[in-house]
Structure formats: structure tokens, C-alpha cells
């Protein structure tokens, strides 16, 4: 931290009255003998007064009506609303991703024996048989692409510009207008425009929070899975835990959720109640972690044959 920044931090906190008593006395004593700091403080005061004096324009006349229209266009409360953003992707990529999404996958998961968080500990292993999709190409079974870590997502965020340059030949269902601008929800939710999974979820959308994590810890090796879960409602729940929910790039049925360690047990309990399954016991959160991250995905429902023996 530079000298100016050090002084500015103390003066700025002093100006806001957000400084411990002892530090306040130190700052005031220092101000007595430091001309430079007094000048800096004058500037900070001027800036603060200017910013506070700024007027915010009146609420635009049509905004409330616009919000209502958007709500009208949105599906009901708590429903899963896919983010139909305007990524235009090459046909080959669309076809490949579409095939991956359509081909039922082979995976193993373990049902919860209990709804309490500790219920992750005891479970019986079951096998889900591979199902074939209706796609004509014999694509080998592949695991669902795991949601990348938010860091990776952030680095790949400017996909749109690159993708639009190679738009020729994009499958029709993957070619949508970018709905940003006016009635966003209407564009997102227009029911008459089915979107292939490959065309969806091509960018990160932070749903809530705005947390910054220095040391993030994921207590599970693999994403938690539920056969039928409402990811948007779960994202909404994460809001109440003051966490962050991120729609994961290239994982149409996934979210990355982040909360502070103090909220982890609440989140885990909620996920458990929503029927999310884990492949192992959660590891203990190390003391250095300031965020806990968990990936959740909607997994295909197990076939009746795969039900555990009763």
C-alpha cells in the first residue's frame, strides 16, 4: 500500500465516522501536524459532498409498466427459467454439445438416507443404466461436462464476440437474437421459441451475491445431483444466505453456488431437502477458506430398474 493510500484509508474512514476510537485520536493528532494530510482530507470532503449532491433522475415514467410486462412474460414464481441469451455458435459445436446433452449418460450416484446434512454419510450405491438417445449419430456416452470454476468462467466470458464471427451454418434453433435491451424477460421467456440446450447457457450469469473469494473450498469431488430440482429457486435461496449462484458455462443443468463457511451447513441442509445426492461425505472446511463452493446439477431421473432394493 502506498503512503497516500495508507493516509487516505485512515482519513476516508475518519471522514465516514467508521474508525475505532483509538485510531480516530491518532488521525486527529496526526492531522494537527500534517499539512499534506489536511489538504488530502479537504479533497476527500469535497468529493464526498459533490457525490452526495448529485441528483438521480426521476424513475422513468414507463418503467413500472415495463417491469410488469416482464413479469407477465416470465413464467410463474419459482419456475426454472433458462437464460436464453444470444450466443450464436457454430453448427458443429452446437451439434456436438446438443448430442452430449441429449445422450443419456452413465453415472453413479448415491441416494440420501436422511434429509439432515449428516445424511450424506450413509447411502447405498446404485447403478443407472446407459440409455440411448434419439440422435442418429452413435455418440459414445460422455459424462456431463462439469461446471468450470468461476475463475475459468470469467476468463471465457467474451465468447460472444468470437462466436458471432463464425455464425454461418449455425443450427436454426441455436441462432437467436441477443435479447438484451428492452423487454428482457419477454425475450427470455417467449414460449414459442424452443432453444436447443447447446444454444443456452453460453455465458456466466451471476444470480446473486457478488462475493469475492480468496480461498474457495469445494467439500465434494463431484457435483451434487438431483433428478428434478428447481435451480432458479435454489439460486433464490442462495440469495437469502448472502451467497452467489452462477450458471455454469456449458452446463445447461448446472449452477455453482458459493457461500461463506458460516452458511455452509444451511445450504447443505437445503440441498439435501431438495433431493441433491452426493458421491461422498463432505470434507471438513479448512480454516483458511473464506468461501465454500458447491456445484449442483440436475441429473436425469434414474430408471425404475435402477431403484435401490427395498
Amino acid at each position: 500500500m502506498s503512503r497516500d493510500e495508507h493516509s487516505a484509508e485512515r482519513l476516508s474512514a475518519w471522514l465516514d465516522g467508521a474508525i475505532p476510537e483509538r485510531e480516530r485520536l491518532e488521525v486527529e493528532a496526526h492531522l494537527e501536524r500534517c499539512e499534506r494530510c489536511r489538504l488530502l482530507l479537504d479533497d476527500l470532503r469535497t468529493l464526498s459532498a459533490d457525490l452526495r449532491a448529485e441528483t438521480v433522475p426521476e424513475v422513468p415514467a414507463g418503467l413500472e409498466a415495463r417491469v410488469r410486462r416482464a413479469l407477465d412474460a416470465a413464467r410463474g414464481r419459482g419456475t426454472v427459467v433458462p437464460f436464453r441469451v444470444g450466443w450464436k455458435i457454430p453448427a458443429t459445436v452446437a451439434a456436438t454439445l446438443g448430442a452430449i446433452a441429449l445422450v443419456a449418460i452413465s453415472f453413479r450416484f448415491l441416494p440420501l438416507e436422511s434429509r439432515a446434512p449428516s445424511g450424506f454419510a450413509e447411502r447405498a450405491r446404485i447403478e443407472v443404466p446407459v440409455e440411448t438417445s434419439e440422435t442418429s449419430e452413435p455418440t459414445p456416452p460422455e459424462p456431463l461436462p462439469a461446471p468450470p470454476a468461476p475463475d475459468t468462467v470469467a476468463k471465457t466470458a467474451p465468447l460472444r464476440e468470437e462466436a458471432e464471427e463464425v455464425v454461418t451454418g449455425v443450427a436454426a434453433e441455436a441462432d437467436h437474437e441477443d435479447p438484451r435491451g428492452r423487454d428482457l424477460a419477454a425475450a427470455f421467456d417467449a414460449p414459442s421459441r424452443p432453444v436447443a440446450p447447446a444454444a443456452v447457457y453460453r455465458r456466466t450469469i451471476r444470480i446473486a451475491g457478488g462475493m469475492e473469494c480468496r480461498e474457495t473450498f469445494d467439500p465434494f469431488d463431484a457435483p451434487l445431483r438431483a433428478p428434478d430440482a428447481d435451480l432458479d429457486a435454489i439460486a433464490g435461496h442462495v440469495l437469502t444466505l448472502e451467497g452467489t449462484a452462477i450458471s455454469a458455462l456449458d452446463s445447461p443443468n448446472g449452477r455453482t453456488l458459493e457461500v461463506r463457511p458460516g452458511r455452509w451447513s444451511e445450504l447443505l441442509r437445503h440441498l439435501s431437502e431438495q433431493g441433491f445426492f452426493a458421491d461422498g461425505n463432505p470434507r471438513e472446511i479448512p480454516p483458511g477458506a473464506d468461501c465454500v463452493r458447491v456445484r449442483v446439477e440436475i441429473a436425469p431421473a434414474p430408471s425404475p430398474a435402477a431403484q435401490p432394493p427395498r
Binding site: S2, D4, R66, L184, G236, L239
Partner: protein, 202 residues
């Protein structure tokens, strides 16, 4: 007089609880009433962060959509207004992030949240210059220009502190950051703003 005011406030709170309860069970008309009540506050925080009417409208709309979709999970641990503020702030930051991506090639951003301390030491201390000496209209013009050049994370703390008069702990909670980070970001934002305004907001 005071007791009358308090009773009115209690009634308003009751009414809000009732609206929330109905909205949680899927009553759109109740949620519309909540939109009506909170639109102005959401608009204000959106505008203060994005400083552009079109974007602020988008942010406000996205905020209420997110709230409607997530209201079933809102348990009332915090005030509904606080919850909306948190959503609006996050949405506004998303807008700023996207705008920053678009601007990346066009212009060099101001110093980011984690500047290189070695480079700063090499640059030496900056000379202070009282901003009050600048003609006020010119200063405000520069201020508006400089504010938009600040990194999104800094704009957020500054907008919430100066624009919304939020306490440090409230800002920390809204943005999901530590108290110390609020303090250091505010200082860095103010220092950068001062430097930029003094420099004439090129």
C-alpha cells in the same frame, strides 16, 4: 404525533408482511404492489451504479424478475428492501462487468483493485491539490466522467456509501465482502477519483 407516526409505520410493515406472504404463495398482484413500493429505491441504486438510464432500467427490471423467481425462498431474515438492494447491486455489477469487457479494447481502464505496490512506490507520492479551487461545474463534469472510469467494485462501494448513505457493515453485507475491504476500497476509489478529477478527466 410520534405515536401516530409509529402506528402508521407499524401498519405499513404489517401490510408489507402481508404482501410478502401473498407474493410467496404466487400472488402476482401482491408482488406488483411490492414493485410499486420499492421501484424508486431500486431505480436509485441501479442508476447510481451504472449511471445510464437505459442500463439502470434493465437492472431494475432484472432485479424484480430475480426477486419474483426467488421470492419463494425469501424467508425474511433480512428486510425485503435489503434483499432487493442486494439483487440490484449484483445485477448492476453484472452490467458493469459486461460493459467493461466491451470497453477493454477501446480504452485503458483506470488502476484496478489490486495495483502493483512496487510500481506505486516507484511513482512516488502524489502532490495534493485542493479540488475546491476548481470551478464547481467543471469539477462536477470531471467527477461524473471519472466515476465511470472506476472499476466496478470501487463504484459499488462509493455509490452505496455516498449515494445511499450506507454504513460500512451494510455495504459489506450487500456486496458480500469483508469490512476491511469496504474500508480499503472506499479509500482507493476516493484517491483515484481525486487524482482523475485533478488531472482533468482526460
Amino acid at each position: 404525533m410520534l405515536s401516530v407516526r409509529m402506528e402508521r409505520a407499524d401498519r405499513a410493515e404489517d401490510a408489507e408482511d402481508d404482501l410478502l406472504r401473498r407474493a410467496r404463495s404466487g400472488d402476482r398482484s401482491a408482488f406488483d404492489r411490492l414493485v410499486e413500493r420499492h421501484l424508486s429505491a431500486v431505480w436509485r441504486v441501479a442508476w447510481r451504479l451504472v449511471r445510464n438510464a437505459d442500463d439502470a432500467e434493465d437492472v431494475a427490471q432484472e432485479t424484480f424478475l430475480t426477486a419474483w423467481r426467488g421470492i419463494g425462498e425469501f424467508r425474511g431474515d433480512a428486510a425485503f428492501a435489503t434483499w432487493l438492494h442486494r439483487i440490484a447491486t449484483t445485477r448492476a455489477l453484472n452490467h458493469l462487468d459486461r460493459a467493461a469487457e466491451r470497453m477493454k479494447r477501446a480504452s485503458r481502464p483506470m488502476e484496478g483493485p489490486d495495483p502493483d505496490p512496487a510500481a506505486e512506490r516507484a511513482a512516488g507520492p502524489r502532490e495534493p491539490g485542493p479540488l475546491a479551487r476548481l470551478e464547481s461545474r467543471e469539477r462536477l463534469r470531471r467527477l461524473a466522467e471519472c466515476f465511470e472510469k472506476l472499476p466496478a467494485a470501487w463504484r459499488a462501494v462509493l455509490a452505496l456509501r455516498e449515494g445511499e448513505d450506507r454504513a460500512y457493515d451494510e455495504i459489506a453485507s450487500l456486496l458480500g465482502i469483508e469490512l476491511g475491504t469496504v474500508r480499503s476500497r472506499l479509500a482507493r476509489a476516493r484517491l483515484s477519483l481525486r487524482e482523475c478529477v485533478e488531472g482533468g478527466a482526460r
